[in-house]
């Protein structure tokens, strides 16, 4: 048993290489966040606090976007929070794979994000899974915070971030995160409905609220999906009764 597990293990160097590849590539995009955040009017300390304490990219972009638009702090935070909820589900998978000692979990928790989960899930056994999680988490956390700082300083140095097109970085990041999720009809329908709600309600509701209403596209799609499944079942029953 032990021998098969060892045989299936990836060499440490391969795990580290994969983990660093992800950590460095995504870590560097902290620069875009630093620039966006500073361009949205947040201070250097506030921008760095977000990367250090929140450390989940989409939530950070969402928060500064909502604050820049003039949203109240609680609706802005609510949108960012809902985006972060997926990390809880990553944590469920990771806690089984990594089997971390309870005392270590509060420290590991901050690194439970899309990228560390992707690298960890790709490993065949526990040992490379732990190594992949640690290397991805560490390299990404260090680089993301460093580049956030550089981006925030850079945004001050270059002045008008809009002239440099940097206000397009936020939506591009969202699109890059969203694209791989649009696999099935249901997911595409949810995205389309959310866009309609988000834009349609924008002129009439307070800032930040339309995004929260747009989140309702998710339970709505599940409801319709469930009804359609029930519907086809009933139609089939009705059809077979008419035949008689």
């Amino acid at each position: 048993m032990d021998q098969t597990a060892e045989g299936a293990d990836k060499p440490d160097s391969a795990v580290v290489r994969d983990a660093l590849g992800v950590g460095v590539a995504v870590g560097l995009s902290g620069f875009a966040f630093g620039v966006t955040s500073a361009g949205s009017g947040l201070g250097l300390l506030q921008t760095c606090a977000l990367s250090l304490l929140v450390f989940t990219g989409a939530s950070q972009f969402a928060l500064v976007g909502a604050l820049a638009a003039g949203g109240n702090p609680f609706t802005a935070a609510a949108g960012a929070f809902f985006l972060g909820v997926r990390n809880a589900f990553y944590g469920l998978r990771l806690s089984q794979l990594l089997a971390l000692p309870r005392a270590l979990r509060p420290f590991a928790a901050q690194w439970v994000i899309d990228e560390t989960t992707a690298v960890t899930l790709a490993q065949p056994t526990r040992r490379p899974a732990r190594l992949g999680f640690t290397v991805t988490g560490l390299s990404l956390y260090l680089l993301w915070n460093l580049t956030t700082l550089l981006g925030a300083l850079g945004a001050r140095a270059i002045g008008d971030t809009r002239a440099w097109g940097l206000d397009a970085a936020g939506p591009a990041v969202f699109l890059a995160l969203l694209a791989p999720m649009l696999k099935t009809v249901t997911e595409r329908a949810v995205a389309a409905l959310a866009v309609l709600l988000g834009l349609g309600l924008l002129p009439v509701l307070p800032v930040g609220v339309p995004v929260l209403v747009a989140a309702l596209a998710a339970p709505l799609a599940l409801f319709v999906e469930g009804r359609r499944r029930d519907g086809t079942r009933q139609e089939e029953q009705a059809g077979s009764e008419e035949d008689r």
Binding site: A88, Q110, A172, A176
Partner: protein, 102 residues
């Protein structure tokens, strides 16, 4: 002050859900409906946020250089460009369109 409140609430909330995932026994949140909803919520939020940050200026809907930038990002994604290149494409095209007076 408002900004610090938002940062504090977001930081606490986001850390709490991360920790909850590691601490909570799997079966309590493993119901199919909850799992499905957790997968679809980010789709809805990201789609709405992408659209708003591209086409909104305060309470007004606008069509400006950002739309061209997002189009470039979409093309880069279809061509399977790496993450940083997707963001760079959006920034460069948006700046370019503004430079020529878009």
């Amino acid at each position: 002050m408002n900004t610090w409140i938002a940062i504090g609430v977001t930081a606490l909330g986001c850390y709490a859900v991360k920790l909850a995932g590691l601490l909570v026994p799997a079966h309590t949140v493993e119901r199919p409906y909850v799992r499905r909803l957790a997968a679809l919520l980010p789709v809805a939020l990201l789609a709405a946020l992408t659209a708003q940050q591209t086409f909104a200026d305060g309470h007004a809907l606008v069509l400006d250089a950002r739309a061209a930038g997002l189009g470039a990002a979409a093309v880069a994604l279809v061509l399977r460009a790496p993450f940083l290149l997707v963001v760079a494409a959006a920034v460069v095209v948006t700046a370019g369109v503004r430079a020529v007076g878009g």
